[in-house]
C-alpha cells in the first residue's frame, strides 16, 4: 500500500486543481456582481458554462491547421501538469521533487506560446493583434515574475516551491522588507499574467482592447471549454503559487487525514480572502491603456529588484 501513496497524493492534488479552479472563478464573479450591485449567477455557474460548451459542436475555420486543433489540448494538459507541481494542500508532492519554480514559469511560457500561435493561425486581424499584445505582456511579466520568486528563494536557499514553503513554515517569523516587495511585485505580475483588470478585462468579447479573448475568439465547443477551463486553472494556480511562497501556513506537511482536511479548510479560507482582495483591486481600478502596461510591469520588475536588493542591503 505504501508505494501507492505518491500516486494517490498526486491524484487528489489534480482533482483539487480541476474542481477548485472553476469554484474560485465562480466566487470571484459572484463577489464582483455583489460589489457592482447586481444579482450573481451563483457559485457554480462556471461548471455549468464548461458543461454547456462541452455539449456544443466545434466550428473550425476552413484554413485552420493542426496547431489550431492541437492547442486547446496542449494548453489544458500543460496547465494541469503545472497544477501537479505547486504545493496546494500537501508539501511533499511527488512531482515537486523533479520540477522547480523555473519549470513552472517555462510551462506557462509554453501555454502562452501555443495560444499566441493559435491566435495567428486562423489569420483574423483580432487573433494577430491579441497574440502580439500577449507576447508583449509575457516578455515583460516573465522576468519580473522570476525575479520576485528568486527573492523568496534567496531567503529559503532553494528554487523548489515545496522546499520554499517548508522553510517558511518552519523558520522563525521575521519581518522582511524583501518579502513585502516580492509580494507586491507578485500581485502586479499575477494580475497581468491572468489577464485581470487593469491589464485585461476577462469579461468581454466586444472591446478593441481585449488581449486574451482576442486570441481565442475563433474557438468554439469543447476547444473553447478546454481553454476557458485552463484559464480558470491558471488563475487558481497563480493564487496558489502566491500562497505557497508568501503565506504557506496551513499547508499540510505530513500525509494524514487531519492535516489534509485542515489543509483544505485553510485553502478555502485563503482563497476566499484572496478573491475579496482581487475584487477590491478590480472594482477600484479602471482598465489602463495598453501602452501603460509596460510601465505597470516595469514597476513590478522594479519592486522585485528592490526586494532582491533589500535582501542584500537590509537583511
Amino acid at each position: 500500500m505504501i508505494e501507492f501513496y505518491p500516486f494517490i497524493i498526486e491524484a487528489i492534488q489534480i482533482v483539487i486543481v480541476l474542481l477548485f479552479a472553476p469554484l474560485f472563478v465562480g466566487w470571484v464573479r459572484m463577489l464582483k456582481c455583489w460589489f457592482q450591485g447586481r444579482t450573481s449567477a451563483g457559485l457554480f455557474q462556471p461548471y455549468r458554462d464548461i458543461l454547456k460548451l462541452f455539449h456544443k459542436d466545434v466550428i473550425l475555420a476552413e484554413n485552420a491547421s493542426w496547431i489550431f486543433r492541437f492547442t486547446p489540448y496542449l494548453v489544458f494538459g500543460v496547465t494541469v501538469l503545472a497544477g501537479g507541481i505547486i504545493p496546494i494542500i500537501f508539501l511533499n508532492l511527488p512531482f515537486a521533487t523533479v520540477a522547480d519554480v523555473i519549470a513552472i514559469a517555462a510551462l506557462f511560457a509554453i501555454v502562452r506560446f501555443f495560444t499566441a500561435l493559435a491566435g495567428m493561425d486562423i489569420g483574423t486581424a483580432f487573433g494577430g493583434m491579441g497574440s502580439s499584445r500577449e507576447m508583449m505582456i509575457g516578455s515583460l511579466a516573465e522576468p519580473a515574475m522570476l525575479m520576485a520568486i528568486f527573492t523568496v528563494s534567496l531567503i529559503s536557499q532553494t528554487t523548489s516551491l515545496s522546499n520554499m514553503a517548508d522553510v517558511l513554515i518552519h523558520k522563525e517569523f521575521i519581518l522582511r522588507p524583501s518579502m513585502a516587495f516580492a509580494l507586491l511585485a507578485f500581485v502586479l505580475i499575477s494580475i497581468a499574467e491572468t489577464g485581470r483588470i487593469p491589464v485585461d478585462n476577462p469579461a468581454t468579447h466586444l472591446e478593441l482592447t481585449m488581449i486574451h479573448e482576442a486570441m481565442i475568439l475563433e474557438y468554439s465547443g469543447r476547444h473553447l471549454a478546454l481553454i476557458e477551463w485552463a484559464g480558470m486553472i491558471k488563475l487558481f494556480l497563480f493564487t496558489t503559487i502566491g500562497i505557497a511562497s508568501f503565506f504557506p501556513w496551513g499547508i499540510s506537511t505530513s500525509v494524514n487525514l487531519i492535516n489534509i482536511s485542515a489543509g483544505i479548510i485553510f485553502l478555502i479560507l485563503k482563497m476566499g480572502f484572496l478573491g475579496i482582495g482581487l475584487i477590491l483591486i478590480e472594482t477600484g481600478l479602471a482598465k489602463m491603456r495598453i501602452f501603460r502596461v509596460p510601465e505597470f510591469l516595469g514597476s513590478a520588475f522594479l519592486l522585485s529588484t528592490l526586494g532582491m536588493l533589500s535582501y542584500f542591503i537590509l537583511e
Binding site: I174, L175, P177, S178, L302, L306, L309, S310, I313, L314
Partner: protein, 221 residues
Amino acid sequence: MSINLAAQVNSIMAALILLTSFGLLVQRRMYGLLHLFAWQGLFLSVSTAIVGYVSGAHHLYISSILTLTLKVVLIPYILHFLMRQLHIHKEVEQLVNVPTTMLIGIALVIFSYYLTAPIRELSTLVTRSTLAVALATVMLGLLMMITRRHAVTQIIGFLALENGLFFAATSATYGMPLVVELGVALDILIAAFIFGIFFFQIRTTFDSLDVEQMTQLKEED
C-alpha cells in the same frame, strides 16, 4: 519592544523610504508627488523615533516630532497651497522616459550599496545597514532634480534629497546634535517659503514654471 524587533521595523521603514523615493521618481501627477513626499516624511519620522528608542538618545524624539510637523504637515501644505495658487495640476513632463529612469535608479541603489559596504563592516550600530538606503535616497533625489524640468518637482526632489541626508545622519551616527537639527529644520522651512516666492517670480517673468525657459537668460553678444 526588543532591540531585534526594533531593528526589523527600522529596516522595513528604510525599505518604505526607498520605495517612496522610487515612487517620487516615476510619479506623473503633481498631487501624487506631494502625497508620496508626505509619506516619505512619515516613514522617516517613525524610523527616527525607533532609532531614538534603540539608542536611548532621547533628543531623537524631538527630531522625529519636528520631521512629522515639518515634512508631513507643513511643507506639503505650503506646496499644496502654492500649486493651488499657481494652478498647477497637469501631468509632469520628464526628460527621460519612466522605465529608463527606473533602471538608472536601480543602478544608483546598487552603486550606493557598493559605496557604503566598507562602512557597514566597520560600524557596530544596529542601524548600519540602512546607510546604503539613505545614500540611495540622496542619489534618487538628485536624479529626480535632473530628470524633471518643472520647478515644483525639482523642489520636491531637493526636499527628498534632504530627507535622505537626515536619514543618513540618524542611521550612521544616531543623529546629529539637537542644535544642528533644529537649525536644519528651520532652514528647510525658510527654504520652502523662499521657493514659494521664487515660483511666483519665475511665473510672472516667464509665464510658466518650466525651467527650460531659463536658458533664455543670457547676455546679449
